[in-house]
Symmetry: C2
Subunit: 366 residues, 2 copies
C-alpha cells in the first residue's frame, strides 16, 4: 500500500470511524483502524463486532492498493498532531508502516489488513430516507429512557417501527416510555427492529444538524445507516419488544398545562434535598389554579408553588424526580400538557404542539 | 440568626470558600459551610483543617446575629439554582434553617455554628504585597513540578522565599526544578516557607487575572493570603527544603535557541509512540544547525528535525518527554534557550527574555 491524501479529510474520517472502537476489547485487531487503499480512494473502517463503521472513500493518490490495520488511538493522534496538509502512507510486507507529514516521520508496526473482520453485508434495497436532523432529534428525545441493566437485554435498545411514511422510535426501562415519530420516505414494507442503545448514541454523534439525508436499510439481523456515504452497520437485538401502544391512553381525570422550563427548574430545585437517595419522591399536589411541588428527605424539605392551568379533579401524586426531569430536558416546546387518571396510574406528558412525541411515567406510591 | 442578602453576592462567596471543602473528609462538620451573621455582614467559612477560607463580609440585612453550619454541597446548589435575587435565611434553636428565595422554600437541618473549627490566627503584620496576576502566573508556571508522592512530604509543597523586594517560588520533584521570581513590596524580613501544593492550586483558582493586590502574611506554622478581603489560611509544611541554588549553573558546553511552540509540538508528536510507557525516552541529537528529536518504542518510531541555533559542541542526550513538555507548556515567551554540559548532567531551560524563571531537568541515561 502506498498513497498520499489530505490530512484533514483523513482526520475527519478517523473521527467518525473511531466511534466503533471499544475501549473494553481484548482483541488487538479490534483496537485497530483498517486502512484500505482502493481505486475509489482510501477507506477507513473500525468495528467492535456489534457496531461497524466504514468511511466514505477519501480522495487519495493511490500508488499501490492494499490494506493495513493500525492501532486506532496512536494512528489518530499522529494524524491529529502532525502539522502538514498532505499525509504519505506506505507499508511493506512486514506490515511496517511509514507515515510522513509536515516535519514528522513515523514508522509503526501494523497488522495484516486481511486479518481485520469484515463488516456484515446489508443489501441496499428497500431504503428508508429521512433527514439527519430529524433522526438526531428522535434519538436525543428518547435514548435517555432505555434500560441500563442487562436483565432484559431487549430493553437496552430502542424499537424502530417503520409504517408507510412514518418511523416511530420507542424506549422503555420499566418505569417510563418515550415515544417519538417522524416522517420517512414512503415504503410499503412495514417492519420493526430493535437497535442497541450504543449504536444510536454513536450514530447521534455522526449525524449532522443540517438538512441532509440519511438512508436506512435493514435485514433480519442488521441495520445499516448511510450518512453522507459513511456506512454504519449494527447488529439488531433479538427478541420481542414489549407492547407499549395501549399504555398511552387518551383518558384522563386530571390534566395541567405548564411552562416547560418553569416545571423543569422547579423539579431540579425541589429534588436537591433528595439527591443522596434516588428513592425519595417528589410530590405533586395539583389543585385548581396551582401546582405544589415538594420533597422531604433526611437532610431537609423543599416546597414550591408553580402556576398551572388545571382541567379536571385535584390530585396528589408522587414521582421519582429524575424521570420527569429527563423528559422535560429534551422537550423543546414552551409548554407541556401532563395528564393523570389516579395517583397510582401512569402520567402522560406531551408537548402542547403536535403529536410527534409523548412520555409515560409511572408514579411512586405515596 | 435571621437575615436577607443578595443571592449573587452569597453565591460568589460560596464559590470561593467551597475550595476548602474536601471530598475525602469523614467529619460531618467539615462537609459544612459556616454562615456567621455579624454586624459587619454575612461571613461564610469553610475548612479542611489544613486550608481554611473565609469570605469578605457580604452586605446583608441582619435582623439577628448568630451562626449555623450547613452542608456545603446542598446549600451551594440551593443558592445556585433558586431563581430570586434576594435570599432569606433564618435559623431556630434546633438548627433548622429556612432558606427562601424566588419560588422556593427550603428547610434544612444544620449543625451548631459553635461546633465549627475556628481558623488559625495569623496576625496581620509584616505584610508582603504583590499583584494577584503575578502570583497566579508564578503558581501556574511552577506547580506542575511538585512531587506527587508522599515519600518526601516537604516536596509536595513549594518553597516561597521572600528577599527584600522579591519573592521566589521553587518546586522540585527529584527529576526537575522549576524556579520563578517576581517583585513584592519591600520588606526587611527575609523568610522561607513551604506551602502545600493543594493550597497553591486552590489559591490559583481564586486569584484574579486583573491588576489587583494580594497581601501575604506568615507565622511559623501558617500563611495567610488576603485576596480582595477573602482570607485564605493554610498550614505550612515542616522541614528543610532542599538546597537548589547551586544546581542552576551558568556554565554550559552546548546551547540551543528554539521556537517554544515548535519545540513543544515536536516533542508532543514524537512522544506519541512512547505514550504507553513513560520510561521510553525522547532523544535529542544536537548538531550544528539542527536538532533531531526521535523516539523508539515497541509500537513504532518517530523522527523529526527542527531548526535551532546552536552554540558550542554537538551533543546527544535523552529525556522523559513529559518533563520538557510540561515546562514548555507554561512558558509564554516565543523562544527558549536550552543549555547542557554533558549527556548525563541536567539541562537548564529559560525563556529568552528576562530572568524571571528557569527550569532544570535531569536527563535519562542513553
Amino acid at each position: 500500500m502506498k498513497l498520499h491524501c489530505s490530512r484533514e479529510l483523513l482526520l475527519n474520517a478517523l473521527t467518525i470511524v473511531n466511534k466503533a472502537i471499544s475501549n473494553k476489547t481484548t482483541l488487538d485487531i479490534l483496537k485497530c483502524i483498517l486502512l484500505t487503499a482502493t481505486e475509489k480512494g482510501l477507506i477507513v473502517t473500525a468495528t467492535d463486532l456489534e457496531l461497524g463503521i466504514q468511511s466514505a472513500p477519501i480522495t487519495a493518490a493511490i500508488e499501490e492498493t492494499g490494506s493495513i490495520a493500525l492501532e486506532a488511538h496512536l494512528f489518530t493522534e499522529i494524524i491529529r498532531k502532525v502539522n502538514g496538509t498532505e499525509v504519505f502512507i506506505q507499508t511493506n510486507e512486514k506490515n511496517e508502516t511509514s507515515i510522513s507529514c509536515g516535519f514528522s516521520d513515523f514508522k509503526i508496526v501494523g497488522q495484516n489488513g486481511e486479518d481485520f473482520p469484515t463488516l456484515p453485508k446489508v443489501e441496499k434495497k428497500q431504503e428508508y430516507k429521512m433527514l439527519q436532523s430529524n433522526l438526531k432529534n428522535m434519538i436525543r428525545q428518547t435514548i435517555f429512557s432505555i434500560a441500563q441493566e442487562e436483565s432484559k437485554p431487549i430493553l437496552t435498545g430502542e424499537l424502530l417501527e417503520f409504517k408507510q411514511n412514518q418511523i416511530q422510535m420507542v424506549s422503555v426501562d420499566g418505569y417510563r416510555i418515550s415515544f417519538r415519530k417522524e416522517e420517512v420516505s414512503e415504503n410499503n414494507r412495514e417492519i420493526q427492529v430493535v437497535v442497541p442503545g450504543k449504536t444510536l448514541s454513536e450514530i447521534n454523534k455522526i449525524l449532522s444538524n443540517e438538512e441532509r439525508v440519511v438512508l436506512l436499510y435493514t435485514t433480519d439481523k442488521h441495520i445499516l445507516f448511510d450518512i453522507d456515504g459513511n456506512i454504519v452497520v449494527s447488529r439488531l437485538l433479538e427478541g420481542d419488544y414489549i407492547k407499549y401502544e395501549q399504555s398511552f391512553s387518551e383518558d384522563y381525570k386530571t390534566k395541567f398545562y405548564v411552562n416547560t422550563t418553569d416545571f423543569l427548574q422547579t423539579l431540579e430545585r425541589v429534588s436537591l434535598v433528595s439527591r443522596d437517595s434516588k428513592k425519595i419522591p417528589v410530590k405533586l399536589d395539583i389543585t385548581e389554579k396551582k401546582l405544589i411541588v415538594k420533597a422531604q428527605a433526611e437532610m431537609g424539605t423543599a416546597y414550591e408553588e408553580i402556576h398551572v392551568d388545571v382541567e379536571g379533579e385535584a390530585l396528589q401524586i408522587a414521582f421519582n424526580p429524575r424521570y420527569l426531569i429527563e423528559a422535560l430536558r429534551v422537550i423543546e416546546d414552551d409548554k407541556v400538557a401532563v395528564q393523570f387518571t389516579t395517583s397510582l396510574s401512569p402520567c402522560i406528558m406531551k408537548p402542547l404542539q403536535g403529536e410527534a412525541f409523548r412520555y409515560l411515567i409511572l408514579p411512586l406510591r405515596l
